[in-house]
């Protein structure tokens, strides 16, 4: 309840503005001005309308929207006289209420579409009632027994400790396979490594086909070994064998001639020139 601020000012003006024509007494006049000067205290035109509507002292459902419109317009007129600048939305509302007033006073135009003046008025009354209801609700809400004021939480909460335990597990099968993997690794590794150091005959053929065109002179086949394969013994062995085999293939195909002067002497190849 204490959190609900009172309605701004206006309370004193209850009777005022009821009929602008009757603003005679200085006191009333002053009060009316107070309402205007405090216009900042209103939460917009609807709030002002709600305050004005209270002057009718009737249930909001029975309010005379026409009269309310007149009250509002009088208020704006008064503000203008006092050279008080009203925010745009107050003026927009004034324009709309002037329109509503004319709709309410003039006989309905059957040609015109959209809601009738009565419907618009009913909607405005509904909005005022709804806003008023929400205000009451807000006050009721704030007046409830509130946590930290009327009701209290546990003063020494005990935190839930969250322990996560990881349990590792393995089966005998995992163990044995793991061991087998290690112990048999050597059986397979040479094979794996051979793959790395094998120069196939296909590779050698490919390489020599590209090079034999230049082999006009006798050349040691070792010079055809791929780069980087001469140093590592395993690789050199494989590359030599592959190159030799490829040379024989090329001789067979009639592309090369091959010779070896004696056992273990360098094997030499040369392009086969038909015009030889």
């Amino acid at each position: 309840m204490s959190d609900m601020p009172e309605l701004p000012q206006g309370a004193a003006n209850d009777n005022l503005l009821a009929d602008p024509g009757e603003w005679d007494s200085v006191a009333e006049r002053r009060a009316a001005e107070a309402l205007i000067v405090d216009v900042d205290g209103f939460e917009g035109p609807l709030d002002l309308l709600l305050t004005l509507s209270r002057t009718q002292k009737v249930d909001l459902r029975k309010i005379s929207v026409l009269r309310l419109a007149e009250q509002y317009l009088a208020f704006v007129e008064e503000a203008r006289k006092l050279r008080i600048e009203l925010a745009a939305d107050y003026l927009v509302m004034a324009a709309w209420l002037a329109y509503l007033k004319s709709r309410l006073l003039l006989p309905p135009d059957p040609e015109e579409e959209g809601p009738s003046g009565e419907e618009l008025a009913a909607h405005l009354a509904f909005q005022l009632e709804r806003l008023s209801a929400m205000r009451e609700c807000a006050a009721k809400l704030m007046a409830r027994d509130r946590l930290g004021r009327d009701r209290f939480v546990r003063g020494i909460p005990e935190a839930v400790t969250h322990a996560r335990k990881v349990k590792y597990t393995a089966t005998l099968l995992d163990l044995m396979q793991g061991y087998a993997r290690i112990r048999t690794r050597d059986d397979f590794r040479p094979f794996v490594m051979d793959r790395d150091s094998v120069f196939t005959m296909e590779q050698a053929l490919e390489r020599m086909r590209g090079l034999i065109g230049y082999a006009g002179e006798w050349t040691d086949i070792l010079s055809y070994l791929p780069e980087g394969w001469e140093m590592d013994p395993k690789k050199r062995r494989s590359a030599t064998a592959a190159t030799f085999a490829a040379s024989l293939e090329l001789v067979k195909a009639g592309k090369l001639v091959i010779r070896q002067s004696e056992t273990f002497a360098p094997i030499e190849v040369k392009r086969r020139d038909d015009e030889r």
Binding site: E43, L49, D89, F126, L131, L141, R154, E158, H162
Partner: protein, 236 residues
């Protein structure tokens, strides 16, 4: 909250005692008593289930416990889907030392809060329509920061505006089991005051919901397009 099962091989194991049989109801009641007592925050049934031995029925034990604490200095209260223990409101005067000074809320904030509570899920435009003024960004922020309101689901209307709803912390703070228990909510609904327009009055097409669509609209529509944009990215 519940970080038990994060990987397929992971299995959460409950205390062994309970693997085969749930403890007796009286014992379950004790356990829930301890759980609720220890926590400053409301504890959901789901969390109780996770923490209690397998096979427990928190709902039943809770009813026992609630009855046990009726009229006591501390009560068992329901907050949304969760439960908590709170001191009895009539003893608040004893707790001057524990009193928490809540930030004084502006009138706009209080009204906005009430509108969110009574009209939820509600868009910002709807709040503005009800109050007849534009809602200050700071007002919403403040309420969100206090954890009294939060973003709800988007409305299925053009622009898919975000909505606001009240939080469990709101319910807890105001001692409400649910938003249905808001004071006077039933009367308001019956009176049609939670509707968008007066009953039996059809200002525009049927089912039009947001004020933007209202053709004979009243001049309170504060420019809304911006809002939709503003909040678009803030949704969680």
């Amino acid at each position: 909250m519940s970080a038990e099962t994060d990987s397929p091989e992971t299995e959460a194991q409950k205390p062994e005692k309970s693997l085969f049989q749930a403890p007796p109801l009286a014992e379950q009641e004790r356990m829930i008593e301890a759980l609720l007592f220890a926590s400053a925050e409301p504890v959901s049934i789901r969390e109780m289930e996770a923490r209690l031995p397998h096979g427990c029925d928190p709902a039943e034990a809770l009813q026992l416990l609630r009855r046990r604490y009726e009229g006591r200095g501390v009560n068992v209260v329901k907050v949304g889907d969760a439960w908590a223990m709170r001191t009895s409101a009539d003893l608040g005067f004893l707790m001057s030392r524990e009193t928490v000074e809540t930030r004084k809320l502006s009138r706009a904030a209080i009204e906005t809060l009430a509108i969110v509570a009574y009209h939820q899920p509600v868009t910002r435009t709807e709040i503005e329509e009800i109050r007849g003024v534009s809602v200050n960004r700071g007002t919403i922020d403040q309420l969100i920061e206090m954890e009294w309101i939060k973003f709800g689901r988007r409305k299925m209307t053009p622009g898919r505006p975000v909505t606001f709803v009240v939080t469990p912390a709101f319910l807890d703070h105001f001692g409400l089991e649910s938003a249905r228990d808001l004071p006077g909510v039933k009367e308001l609904r019956e009176a049609g005051l939670l509707d968008n327009r007066p009953r039996g009055l059809n200002l525009s097409e049927e089912g039009a919901e947001t004020p933007e669509e209202e053709e004979g609209g009243l001049p309170f529509d504060v420019d809304d397009q911006d809002d939709a944009e503003l909040f678009e990215d803030d949704a969680p």
